[in-house]
């Protein structure tokens, strides 16, 4: 096989493995959420299908596939069908630049645990997530129903507003590491917990801003105004059923996982962690992936914990919080960080 064919084959295998893992992760995040929220509210959550309800995602998936795929007669069809596809495709795309660990060696060939390493990796993720708004906005508009439209409007206003704070909160990290490459940012934090950007770089303010903005970007409680069920029925996906509805949900959970990946890469030292020397070589090679997944898991638990505890914001509070609190804080963080870096140099 030629070098090019091998390269393409490796890339395809990586993409397939990662997408399958991501979708499984999405399914089990739903399970985790139902379990954890259940326990927070003194319930058991799913217990019937399989041990601890572990097969529940499978049952849910089957149910959604076999449901009737209703298309209301008054919708604008092309966009109505395009919107969920757009949401899911973009949510899955952003995983492609995320590194999961160092490279592993198979048959004398070093394979980096990342689909592609571009030197503007962070910008690619920001770009893809900023396009992701269209899925929500267009579904709201094309459904031709007032609840959907209100949900879509809220979503686009909210996502555009919080994207500013989100982008600015990352600038401090970029100043400290001096690169857009996610691998480079992780390597700049090497050397233990105290070198992580959140502690060693004093980026905890930025981390807080990132957390709030990321919750808003993924439409999760306390910022789930676009699908506030008490006022908007189900918001932008009111008119969707069956797999189209499931695609929106999959996109939401995939985005949560991406946000968790990004938080661990930028603030929490990526995949760094102790690798015990007594383990066999293959296990040592996979330890970074384990540490990385652990961080994502804890991040998802935080998401669910917040959902279980906090009430929803009012819409004007949401906008005021984004523009009058998070944005000035992020700007102040940039000024202070660059002053410190400049004085140190």
């Amino acid at each position: 096989m030629s070098e090019f064919a091998i390269y393409v084959a490796i890339a395809i295998v990586k993409i397939v493995v990662l997408v399958v893992l991501l979708l499984t992760g999405v399914a089990y995040t739903v399970w985790l959420e139902r379990k954890l929220v259940g326990h927070i509210q003194n319930r058991w959550g799913p217990t019937r299908v399989g041990p601890f309800g572990l097969l529940q995602p499978l049952a849910d998936g089957l149910k959604l596939i076999f449901k009737e795929d209703l298309v209301p007669p008054h919708v604008y069809r092309p966009l109505y069908i395009l919107a969920p596809m757009l949401s899911l495709a973009l949510a899955l795309t952003s995983i492609s630049v995320i590194p999961f660990g160092n490279s592993i060696t198979i048959a004398g060939r070093a394979i980096p645990l990342q689909i592609t390493d571009v030197n503007i990796g962070l910008l690619v993720i920001l770009g893809v997530t900023s396009i992701g708004v269209y899925g929500v906005a267009l579904s709201g508009w094309s459904s031709n129903s007032k609840y959907s439209l209100l949900g879509g409007l809220r979503a686009s206003a909210q996502m555009v507003s919080y994207e500013v704070a989100l982008g600015l909160s990352l600038v401090g990290v970029l100043i400290l590491s001096g690169t857009f490459s996610l691998r480079g940012i992780v390597e700049a934090q090497a050397g233990g917990v105290l070198h992580w950007n959140i502690f060693g770089g004093f980026q905890f303010v930025a981390f807080f801003i990132y957390l709030c903005a990321a919750f808003a970007e993924t439409n999760r409680t306390p910022f789930d105004l676009p699908e506030a069920e008490t006022e908007l029925v189900a918001g932008y996906h009111t008119e969707y059923s069956s797999m189209k509805y499931a695609m929106f949900m999959m996109a939401e959970y995939a985005n949560m996982i991406t946000v968790g990946c990004l938080a661990s890469l930028l603030f929490l030292g990526g995949w760094s962690g102790p690798v015990p020397a007594f383990l066999p070589a293959w296990a040592q090679a996979l330890m970074p992936v384990f540490w990385f997944s652990l961080r994502i898991f804890l991040f998802l638990c935080l998401y669910i914990w917040v959902r279980g505890t906090l009430p929803r914001f009012r819409y004007d509070q949401l906008m005021a919080f984004g523009w009058k609190v998070l944005l000035p804080l992020a700007l102040a963080n940039i000024v202070v960080t660059s002053l410190v870096v400049g004085l140190r140099a």
Binding site: N119, L123, V133, L138, G152, L153, S156, M159
Partner: protein, 179 residues
């Protein structure tokens, strides 16, 4: 391969632009504009300007066009009527387009290649700045940063003040209704 991609995305870009004019519904027009922006980003990428490509995607397709779509959705704009064009368009518009197209064709065919052909984006900037190793990595964020904040600092700052004035003007205009 590069040339193939270029022609592919150039065709998509032009098709999107024509569709933007031909569509009667504002949302469809806005979406075609997004397609145009996206394919422009790909063309930047092909020219080696990856930073500009990412910014194109984030700022134009991701922020500005979202606001366009937002406003169209908010106003719930319906389909436009097709009008037979004004007399001014017949008198000046069409001849002007024809002359411009002819002029551009002539420039491209007669030695205009050095001016507008396969020049890497940022190449002219790099040549005028003279501080870069090669024109090939003119597109990286480091070099663009150096050009913006070092070599072209004054124009950059003047532009930012201009944008600030525009923002303040918008706020003043929006506030007037409240009093």
């Amino acid at each position: 391969m590069q040339q193939l991609l270029f022609f592919l995305f150039a065709a998509i870009c032009v098709a999107g632009a024509i569709n933007l004019l031909a569509q009667r519904h504002p949302i469809s027009s806005a979406l075609s504009l997004i397609v145009v922006m996206g394919s422009l980003a790909v063309i930047y990428l092909l020219l080696g300007a990856e930073f500009v490509a990412a910014i194109q995607l984030i700022v134009y397709a991701g922020a500005i066009m979202v606001l366009f779509v937002f406003v169209i959705m908010l106003l719930n704009a319906g389909e436009e009527e097709r009008t037979p064009g004004s007399r001014v368009a017949w008198l000046f518009g069409y001849p002007a387009v024809a002359i411009l197209a002819g002029l551009l064709t002539w420039v491209f065919l007669h030695g205009g290649r050095q001016v507008a052909g396969a020049v890497p984006l940022g190449g002219p900037l790099a040549a005028s700045a003279g501080s870069l190793e090669s024109a090939a990595d003119a597109g990286t964020a480091v070099n663009i940063g150096r050009l913006l904040f070092h070599d072209f600092l004054l124009p950059f700052e003047v532009t930012s003040v201009l944008v600030l004035i525009a923002i303040m003007g918008a706020v003043v205009l929006a506030r007037r209704g409240e009093e």
